[in-house]
């Protein structure tokens, strides 16, 4: 059953690679309209967690529900349908490098005509590109774009199917500080424009401060601490304080 306000619910999620316990009884809720930031050290299992959420990786035990549906054991058809409601921004943008910007954006549209609802493909592409401020780049190839522009196009591709949830995997990684700031503000704009909920993974504290309504610290495979940015900033636990140095 879908609780309309709770888009993602994770309970006691465990995932190990052999001896390496990456997630160990991890819990998380993502509510409608919220920007939840998950911080954790590099290699702490943040990307693994996101991949479990979209069925790219299987989890060992626990429950992971997205829009009321348990990911494990889902059929391919249902999973693909659910995935159109989840946007995923990859750490390295992951643009299709043999396709132009236009083809990158039309790729998901072509395969999910039911999501277009009568609108023309060109209009939707134009709209998405304008919303990330890159309408002029439509006929370029990814290799002709700077890192920041690639990230914007990747964001445009993520929002083009109008997902209800967007998962961001380190949206500012690999970008210079100024471009990173631009991307952060762009994400905020997109969130307001499209009314989506967002789960943002980062280890960039500036990013977390600006974007988050709520934060979770991932440590030793579990949700070690939770709260607003201010609450965590004033937390006395040395392990939590280490993140704010």
């Amino acid at each position: 059953m879908e609780d309309n306000n709770r888009l993602i619910q994770i309970r006691d999620l465990c995932k190990a690679f052999g001896e390496n316990k990456v997630l160990d009884h991890f819990n998380l809720d993502l509510h409608a309209g919220e920007n939840l930031v998950l911080v954790g050290k590099s290699g702490s299992g943040k990307s693994v967690l996101l991949k479990c959420m979209v069925g790219l990786m299987e989890y060992d035990s626990g429950s992971l529900q997205v829009l009321g549906q348990e990911i494990r054991g889902m059929g391919q058809y249902e999973l693909d349908k659910l995935r159109t409601d989840i946007g995923f921004l990859f750490q390295g943008s992951a643009l299709y490098d043999s396709m132009t910007v236009r083809e990158n954006l039309s790729f998901p549209l072509r395969r999910h005509p039911e999501k277009i609802a009568g609108a023309s493909e060109d209009d939707l592409i134009q709209e998405a590109l304008e919303n990330v401020g890159l309408a002029h780049a439509i006929d370029l190839l990814p290799e002709e774009l700077s890192g920041g522009m690639q990230r914007r196009i990747a964001l445009a591709r993520t929002i083009i199917l109008k997902p209800r949830i967007i998962l961001y995997d380190e949206p500012t990684s690999g970008l210079d500080p100024i471009t990173a700031k631009e991307i952060i503000h762009l994400i905020l704009e997109i969130q307001q424009l499209y009314h989506t909920a967002a789960l943002i993974i980062t280890h960039d504290m500036d990013c977390a401060r600006v974007i988050s309504n709520r934060m979770i610290i991932l440590l030793n495979g579990t949700n070690y601490a939770e709260g607003t940015f201010q609450e965590l900033q004033t937390n006395q636990d040395p392990q939590v304080r280490a993140f704010f140095k």
Binding site: V54, R83, F88, Q91, A94, F107, R111
Partner: protein, 260 residues
């Protein structure tokens, strides 16, 4: 010497790998007939494969025709059997040399580029990105490329055969003053159904092997740029090996059915 270089280890690797490729091929056959079909991408890939290799295939074919004729001719004329030249060269080109040389070139050209392309898509998470956008990347990337290779390699073989025969004719014409009409009528009179059918059928298997091995290597490529290089490289090595095995099996089967 590391333990990875032992003969025993290498043989075991080959067996394990063949098993994995067989599983990959099973997935191919499970999904190839189910919609949605990616026709546009299939056409595009067929065009790329043809376009990429046709020049090389034609050039090698031409040279093989020349060389084969130049080298065989003196021996044949010692026995006064120059009249048999078109038939003999024609049969060796159509049955063996055309298919095998073309397939080897395609393994180098197409196999490696499929391996590198899918490998880099894998490590830069483009394949994962397709998957989360609700598209089956196996259908879009693997099935289209394997089908394209399966269809295009036989076509390239036919072209190579034609060019090689032309090269051979040129030598005959210069050395033995054989007319074009005589040459080609000699060739076609002596090539039988039993030469043509197995030779054509096996080229489809060659194409399939090149496509499936290239895709398997790319699709399962390991992280990092070294992984991509390895995917491209081993796509060529493994598919070339498979080509010879398929060729051997094809000859055995043809031997049974058409009684050479």
């Amino acid at each position: 010497m590391t333990k990875n270089s032992g003969l025993w280890y290498q043989m075991r690797e080959i067996v394990v790998e063949t098993g994995e490729i067989a599983l990959f091929a099973r997935r191919f056959f499970r999904e190839v007939f189910n919609p949605p079909y990616e026709f546009r991408e299939l056409l595009k890939q067929s065009y790329i494969i043809g376009n990429k290799s046709i020049f090389l295939v034609a050039t090698t074919g031409f040279i093989m025709g020349l060389v084969l004729t130049l080298q065989t001719r003196p021996t044949m004329s010692q026995f006064g059997a120059e009249a048999w030249m078109p038939a003999m060269v024609g049969i060796s080109i159509v049955r063996e040399i055309g298919p095998v040389i073309t397939a080897l070139i395609c393994a180098g050209k197409i196999g490696s580029s499929i391996g590198a392309e899918l490998g880099s898509m894998k490590v830069t998470e483009q394949i994962a990105a397709m998957e989360v956008s609700g598209t089956n990347p196996f259908k879009y990337l693997v099935i289209t490329r394997v089908v394209a290779a399966t269809l295009m390699v036989p076509l390239l073989v036919i072209i190579a055969d034609g060019v090689a025969l032309t090269g051979s004719y040129l030598v005959e014409h210069v050395k033995g003053n054989v007319s074009m009409q005589l040459y080609f009528s000699q060739v076609f009179r002596n090539i039988t159904f039993g030469d043509l059918v197995p030779a054509t059928v096996k080229t489809f298997f060659f194409g399939f092997a090149i496509g499936i091995v290239g895709c398997y290597k790319g699709y399962t490529s390991k992280k990092g740029t070294a992984g991509v290089g390895r995917a491209a490289n081993s796509a060529v090595v493994v598919s070339s090996l498979f080509l010879f095995i398929i060729d051997f099996i094809a000859v055995l089967i043809a031997d049974i059915f058409f009684e050479l």
